[in-house]
Symmetry: C2
Subunit: 304 residues, 2 copies
């Protein structure tokens, strides 16, 4: 018997997830509030973008839900997947980036998404994708281990090979080739997931979405009151430049969104509020800044 | 008789141009000095990058010379030009971006370049490219008219159709599709220029290079002492975000450089030293900030 593939329960889950994550982040901030913009897209569908700016803990937190639909995929999307040509499609997801104020709190990103392309008289083509990853400025082993433990726990019910596979994919994906540098300490990244069938794949996407706050909030709580000065703030602004470079040069979601007439302000909500570039800057050997490069920005196994 | 196509005089011109522009910019700054980094590239060639940071007038001025060589072009470069496949190549150019401190002084960019691909027993394939363009924060008609008058003067000896053609190409090239916004007020952009033969094309590239300081320095002199406050600084930082978006998402030179193993720090010297993104920000109607969008960021004829 063929499993029923329905987008409605996915959308229900995602809108609920956006609500829960906004509550969790606003709660951790304690003073900032999310403002919501609902938007529609000419070709079909729309979304709701929620942004908290200038909070006590978070300089900017952007949490998007979107559900976009189209009568047929653009040629760029079907060039490498000819089986998609001529199908109507729907894509839905939650995507978020949290830029904390304190340089001792890492930036985090999470995304869960579902795509389906249909036509009369044929089986739908669909897949899930997503993950979450962490970008420290001043890393702490304890935080990285916690982050990856939760990532592993999210994967555990789905088989022992799942965490290592998606942990590695994350390391490979969030990599700045022009810097020969990972974006951060990774986490999980998965895409094109349908081999498990709809129900199990959907359950996995939910598990990833449900574990994000457990992975992030304890780190925020531990580091948000660490004293810092101009030096640490400077380094944070400098390192945020890498985030911009990654998102604008490599990130598929960002580039696809910008090229396909997505809502620019919602897509670029991922960019940090304030960023510095400094020509040819290198950290002094032996400093905490150098330790980020030497110790944390090396792919490694954070949990057994 | 076939014209002789030689890269040596082009290189001589370009290194001299870099010297002259650095002198002009350092002179206009009055306090900052250029620091030079010479670098080589594993596959062949190298360059010298000169950067002035934290000057009195210029927050950052980066002026690159490069001459890179290769035994054969990468497939990405020959996919659309199969006649280039299997040829050795040389590319040389001067590229610069000037980020002033005062928001009333526009940012400017200039580039002149030459490319040649050769193989035994065949005519070389070569072309010139380049141009210069201006990006104001608070525009002044007088400045835009001056900038375009000098651009037109650079083109005049080469025919009356030259300025309009390359002015339009500039408007089309420096355009952020995801914002539906030009990067600035334009200037000149040309590429693939060989139809005039080597000598005339080279002379045109020189004319563009030689006119850049005449186009820019009078504007700097007029605006550098205009008083400004936090509001203007804020708007400058915000608008600089567009510069980053253009360079990382669209600029061919930047993307080709990053993808082909160019020197990252020299390529990204074009990025502004400090940048702000602000979710969904719009200028209040009737303000000087709104005037930038309404009056200056519309392609228009600045000179007869």
């Amino acid at each position: 018997m063929t499993e029923q593939v329905r987008i409605e329960p996915v959308i229900d889950y995602l809108t609920g997830l956006q609500d829960r994550i906004c509550q969790g982040i606003a709660g951790a901030d304690g003073s900032g509030e999310f403002k919501e913009d609902s938007w529609t897209r000419e070709e079909g569908g729309g979304g709701r973008s929620r942004v908290l700016t200038e909070g006590a803990v978070f300089e900017q937190a952007g949490i998007n839900f979107s559900h976009v639909t189209g009568a047929s995929l653009p040629p760029s999307a079907t060039a490498h997947r000819p089986e998609l040509a001529g199908r109507r499609f729907q894509a839905t997801g939650v995507s978020l980036v949290i830029h904390p104020r304190n340089p001792y709190v890492p930036t985090s990103h999470a995304n869960v998404r579902f795509f389906i392309a249909e036509k009369e008289g044929a089986e739908p083509i669909w897949w899930f994708g997503g993950g979450f990853d962490l970008t420290p400025y001043y890393g702490e082993d304890e935080d990285c281990v916690h982050w990856h433990r939760v990532a592993k726990a999210a994967c555990e019910p789905f088989g022992p090979e799942v965490y290592p596979r998606y942990k590695q994919w994350c390391d490979e994906y969030f990599f700045l080739r022009h810097r020969n540098e990972p974006r951060g300490v990774g986490g999980l990244f998965f895409d094109d997931l349908n081999e498990w069938g709809f129900e199990k794949s959907f359950a996995f996407m939910r598990s990833v979405g449900d574990h994000y706050l457990d992975a992030y909030l304890p780190i925020v709580a531990r580091r948000k009151d660490t004293p810092y000065g101009e030096r640490e703030r400077d380094f944070q602004l400098y390192r945020r430049g890498r985030y911009v470079e990654f998102n604008l040069v490599y990130d598929r979601g960002t580039l696809f969104g910008l090229q396909s007439g997505g809502r620019t302000e919602s897509i670029l909500m991922s960019l940090p509020p304030l960023v510095r570039w400094r020509y040819n800057w290198q950290p002094e050997p032996g400093t905490p800044e150098a330790r980020l490069y030497e110790h944390f920005l090396k792919p490694r196994e954070w949990v057994e």
